[in-house]
Structure formats: C-alpha cells, structure tokens
C-alpha cells in the first residue's frame, strides 16, 4: 500500500487517488478521491456511495465545495509543479474562511522542503513522492517558531513576542 504522511507520521494510505475517472470499468471499490468536476457532476450518486474525497487542481479554488465541507472527509490539493504555490492559499482559505475540519492533503510534485509551510497553511496529510518518507519528517521542524500567523499558530509573532 502506498505511504502517506499524516499528522507527522508515516502511515499506509488507504485512499485511492483517481486522477481521471476510468471510462470503462467505472469507479473502483474502496475509498476514492475524485476530481472536482466529477464530484460536481455526480454529487448525489457519490454522496450515496460514501467513502469519497475530492481533489482540486491548482487552478481550482475550493469555493464550489462550500456546501459539502461537513461531509467530505478528505480534500486533496494538487501541486502540478512544486513551484506552483496556489495550493498554499487554498489550504489556508479552506481552514480559515470555510472552517473545514477534515483532512487537507497535498498531492503531486511538492517536496519535503515545503512541509513546514504546507502544514502552516492547514495541510495535515502529504502523499509525498519520495523513497524515504521517514527522513522527510525532519522538515516539519525546520523552524521552531514563525513570524506570520498560520493555521498551526494563529497568533502572529508580534502579538506573542513584541508587546
């Protein structure tokens, strides 16, 4: 089973990411993460099926998911290139604007050097493409404090150290 970093530990990933919906054989059994467009088309059927999460491409803001945030257990955000930083804003707005409590998962080409920032933007799961995810865990601790407010530490530096 593929590995996932979840809450700073390496675990087995029992979710299957469907980059595309298989045309012939239909949806596989088990927990699946489907593209946003497919979710919007097939919402009722998918809700009935259960065990479904949604993934957003880097040009899809999470706004259309607003009505479903109570029910969706996983929202994955894709990084087609690790330098495409739109997903950082999506993670943050999911948590801050929409108050989403489920799993926010990074998928795609992000690298371990981004784990610290990603987790500050509300990501708590990382389908990281590396041979040794255990080693990557160290990157969560690149810094022991932060200036700007984030999901992990909503009180900015100046309210903690500069008063």
């Amino acid at each position: 089973m593929p590995k996932l970093i979840k809450d700073r530990a390496v675990i087995d990933d029992d979710w299957q990411l469907l980059r595309e919906i298989p045309a012939e054989e239909g949806l596989p059994a088990g927990k699946i993460i489907v593209p946003l467009d497919y979710w919007l088309e097939q919402r009722d059927a998918l809700l009935a099926r259960g065990d479904v999460g949604v993934w957003l491409s880097s040009d899809q803001a999470p706004t259309p998911l607003a009505p479903d945030l109570e029910t969706l257990p996983v929202i994955a955000i894709d990084f087609p290139l690790f330098t495409d930083g739109r997903g950082f804003s999506y993670g943050r707005t999911l948590r801050e604007h929409h108050g989403y409590k489920g799993e926010v998962r990074a998928i795609g080409q992000f690298i371990r050097d981004q784990l610290f920032y990603l987790s500050r933007c509300g990501f708590d799961a990382f389908a990281i493409e590396t041979a040794d995810p255990e080693r990557a865990l160290a990157s969560f601790d690149d810094f022991s404090d932060a200036y700007s407010a984030g999901i992990d530490q909503p009180v900015p530096w100046f309210r903690r150290h500069n008063q």
Binding site: G85, E96, I111, D113, S144, A146, G150, P156, W157, N162
Partner: protein
C-alpha cells in the same frame, strides 16, 4: 535600529542550518538542480555568468557598523575583497563558492543578517526611503512599518511560491525617495485630516519588460490594517496571477488585465475574511516597532552657529564647499546633516565598494553617525546623523577612500546594474558605458550647470538599473549578436513618476557618450531659466532631441 530578540536570532540560525542541509542534499544528488533552484534563490544565491552570486539582505537599507565590518570581512574571506550595493539596497557578492555559502550565512546570522528572500518568487526584501527617520521633509518614519512588514513577510508560509517576485517599497516623506510607483506594492505613509496615520496603497507598478506606474487602490488605509490588507492583495495575486508565462506573471499584468477597480474589488472581497483578524496591528505592536527607531542621543546644537562655522570652512576650501552643497542633505535635527557617500567615482563600477572602503565607512559611522549606515537604491551609502561641525573631517576621510565625488543627484551619479560583466541575463555590458560617460563629462561645472539629472543604465530589459525612470535611460539591447544601446528620455521616479520615451534606433557602445552630449546640448539650448532637464523635456517633448541626435 531594529535589534533581534532571541526568537529572531533563532529563526535566522535555523534558516542557515536549513540551507546547509539543502546544499548537502543537492551536492549528494538528492535534490535535483530544478528542485534546488528556488531553494537557493530564496537564500539569495544566483548562478551568474562565471560564478555564483550571493545577494545579502540589507532590510530597508539600514545597517550598523558591526554589520558593515562583517560584510567587509566576508567579502575578503569568501570573495574577491569587494561587494556591490544594488538598486534593491542589498549587497551582492560576485564570487562565492557554493560550498562556502552555508558558512557565509552562519557568519551573517552572527551579526543579525541573512540572505533570506532576496531572490526567488516570494516577497522580497522591503525597501524604503534611505533618509527615513532623518529627512527634514519627513511625515513619519517608514522604518517601524518596514520592520513590521519584514517580520510578516519573512517565511510567510502562503506566499513563498508566488507567480513571480514581489517587491514592496515604503516611503514616509514628501519627496518619494523609494520609487514607490514602480514597485509591486508601494506603501506611502499619509496623515488624514484628524492627524491619524495611515497608508496610501499603490499596486501593480514595476519596471522590466513591461514598465507600469502603480495604481492607487486605497487612498487611506488605517494603520492597524496594514498586514491584513497586504495579505489580501497577495492572496488575490497568488491565486490569479499568471503562471503560464514568466514575462506576464508580475502583479502589474494582472492589475492591468483586470483593471484597478476590479482588482480592488477582489482585494476587498478577500479582505472581508482577514480584516480585524489576528494580523491586525495592535497599538503595542506599532509602539514596540517604533521603540527601535527612536532618535539617537543628539547633541543640542544651535543651527545658526553651526551653519556659520561651516560656511567659513566652505569659503576657505572650494572643494569642500562643492561637496557640502551636493553630497549633504537637510536633517531634521538642528546642527546635523545627512551625508551621502558617492559610490560613483570614475573608474569604479557604480555601487561597488572594497572591503577596505567598507571598513573606513564603518569607522566613520562609529565616530560620527551613531554607528549607523544606510544604503540607497541609487547605489550610494549614507551616514544619516553627522554633526555639521564634523562634516569637514568626514569629507576628508571620504575623499581619502574615493567616496567624496561631489556629484549626488547629477549626471555622473549614475545608477547602473552589473550588466554583461557579471550578469548571465545581460544583453550588453553596462559598467563600461557608465564609465565612458563619467570620463567624457568630467567637468564639474558643466555637470552642475545641467542641474538635477538621473541617468540610469540597465544591461537588459529586466531593468535592474531602473532605466525607464531615469531622466535619461540607457538600455542594453542585442542587435544580431552585437551589444547596442537604446536611449529613452523623460522618465522620473518621484511622486510624479513617468516612464521614459524611446528616442529612436539604438547606438553602438562607442557612440553613446556623444549621443548623450547631443541630448544634453539640446536641453541647454532649449531650457528656460532655472528649468531642470525633466521640466524642459516635459515642456518640449521628444522631437527636438530626436532631430538633433539623428540629424
């Protein structure tokens, strides 16, 4: 000046360590060059034509003598004994070895310095009026707000992988000395009718391939909202800025495509979520930032007495008198002056300083200016707090190291990027062009007669030498593999900013000085009493210049 607390120091130390790890992983082949690239860029490390270049941050152009000595020391131990003060108020080292960079970062951290976010597609080092806190025309000191922005933008988790770089400039004076109108965001400190401070926010200015003057999207932002509003601007840009084409990725393109009103609406819509949130500045936080920038313990002096002594000294020495007139500026505090050390001496690349020169400047700062130094986007160094009675001694010492050329704000005080001698992006060399112009116009009286004049040179479209906003701008272009230069006139960087108009077909390097001479001669012929170059240009337009140059 701002002083790190334990936590600031810890973060900068951790950053140096993080980079050490990344460099090791790169050298071990665990990070690909593509992956390492943005990581090293966000630590100021570029690859240039012949070597790496390390860009060290000088936050809002403010340095102390200990830091400047460290820069001298680093340039001597890890480089060729000199550095380049850039138009971003930073210091660039041209020859560091990659293997040494982690150690250089650690050395910098030991004096509260770093190279964080001096490059890459992130929020860059914030720049400011280099006379902040001392200028006679100041409305409010920009430095506390710059420091607040520095902290907020450093390691901002959401904005480290923007479509493109993002530069913020802050100015709190009547005269804009920070080129606010040509930055991604310009923050102008203003006071409203009730005397409360706030900010006028400009967005979408920038130079480069598509030069644009920024648009005002907020006339008066109350000061407590500074960070939440900036965050809204950045979030809109991060999500909507173009990522398909590097040349169309700056915020200016987005603002132009959407129109400033639509852009403002997006920002306001985003701001609804952020406004009054935890990033809202508290009165304590602002006061805390301001506490680092209190007036130094100035001696109480009678300006009339100081001034009359100074005038006597000036009468006795014409060279000193010239320097006094051109290289010192009015200070807030009676009996004091601001000294600009000219890094524009013929024969030396504009903005360059050797380790020895840096050390002398550090000594001068200790002795005469409360240990403080500024760097300006015009690539000069400044001693902000000199007693008028010390000016003569400062002048003598500056003369001895070649930093007293009395040309500030005039033709030979050229802004010039490193160009083809160093930069891998260059179309053409820029340093030899600056030198040729300085050599041709070596008669100070002629230069003074020309009055205020900004001549800016960039080696390519990226416009690091701000050529679009020079009264005279020179741009290196590539013409079938040969280096040519395009000339533009009428640019300006102040509050009435304007972009230069292209004169016409470009010239070869040898022809540039004589073309400049024709341009200047046209101005001298056409000017009306007391009119500066820009005034004449704006009155008569480009045609008379064209006719003369291409006759």
């Amino acid at each position: 000046m701002y002083q790190y607390n334990k936590q600031d120091q810890l973060l900068v130390n951790e950053r140096a360590q993080q980079f050490r790890g990344q460099a090791e992983r790169f050298l071990a082949g665990e990070l690909t060059p593509q992956q390492f690239l943005p990581l090293r860029l966000q630590n100021g490390l570029y690859k240039q034509r012949l070597a790496y270049m390390l860009r060290i941050a000088i936050p809002y152009g403010t340095l102390n003598s200990r830091q400047l000595r460290k820069l001298a020391d680093i340039s001597r131990r890890f480089d060729k004994g000199f550095g380049h003060f850039s138009t971003r108020q930073n210091l660039q080292l041209n020859w560091p070895e990659l293997e040494d960079v982690p150690q250089i970062l650690e050395e910098l951290a030991s004096v509260e310095m770093h190279a964080i976010q001096t490059s890459g597609n992130c929020i860059r080092n914030t720049t400011a009026d280099h006379f902040s806190g001392v200028a006679a025309d100041e409305i409010e000191d920009a430095r506390p707000y710059c420091e607040i922005i520095r902290q907020w933008s450093t390691f901002h988790p959401e904005f480290a992988f923007l479509p493109r770089k993002f530069k913020i400039a802050v100015c709190g004076s009547q005269q804009d000395r920070a080129a606010m109108h040509v930055h991604d965001v310009g923050v102008e400190i203003v006071h409203n009718a009730q005397g409360e401070s706030g900010f006028k926010i400009l967005v979408g200015g920038g130079l480069g391939r598509t030069p644009v003057i920024g648009e005002v999207i907020n006339e008066f932002l109350p000061k407590q909202h500074l960070l939440t509003y900036l965050e809204a601007v950045l979030r809109v840009y991060n999500q909507l800025g173009r990522r398909d084409n590097k040349f169309k990725a700056r915020i200016k393109i987005l603002v132009r495509a959407m129109g400033p009103d639509a852009f403002r609406e997006k920002v306001e819509a985003e701001w609804v979520y952020l406004k009054d949130g935890p990033n809202t500045l508290t009165a304590e936080a602002i006061a805390h930032a301001q506490s680092f920038f209190q007036k130094p313990p100035y001696e109480v002096l009678d300006d009339t007495i100081e001034e009359s002594t100074l005038q006597q000294q000036a009468l006795a020495d014409a060279a000193f008198a010239r320097w006094l007139k051109y290289n010192t500026s009015r200070h807030k505090q009676a009996g004091h002056a601001i000294v600009t050390l000219s890094l524009k001496t013929t024969g030396y690349a504009p903005g360059d300083a050797t380790a020895e020169q840096m050390e002398v400047v550090a000594d001068l700062a200790d002795r005469y200016s409360f240990g403080e130094i500024r760097s300006s986007h015009q690539q000069n160094l400044i001693l902000p707090d000199v007693r008028k009675r010390d000016l003569k001694a400062v002048w003598e010492a500056a003369t001895a190291i070649g930093f007293a050329t009395p040309n500030i704000g005039h033709l030979t005080d050229i802004i010039c990027c490193p160009g083809g001698d160093y930069c891998s992006l260059a179309n053409a060399k820029s340093i030899p062009v600056a030198e040729a112009i300085q050599r041709k116009f070596d008669d100070l009286d002629y230069i003074y007669d020309l009055g205020e004049l900004d001549l800016n040179i960039s080696g390519c479209m990226n416009a690091c030498g701000h050529h679009h906003v020079g009264h005279i701008g020179i741009l290196g272009v590539d013409k079938k593999g040969a280096e040519f230069y395009q000339i533009s006139l009428g640019g300006n960087q102040g509050k009435d900013a304007s972009l230069g108009e292209i004169l016409g077909p470009s010239f070869s390097q040898v022809d540039v000085p004589s073309v400049i001479e024709k341009v200047l001669q046209t101005y001298l012929d056409k000017r009306i009493d007391g009119e500066v170059f820009l005034g004449t240009f704006r009155r008569i337009g480009i045609e008379p210049f064209k006719e003369r140059v291409y006759a």
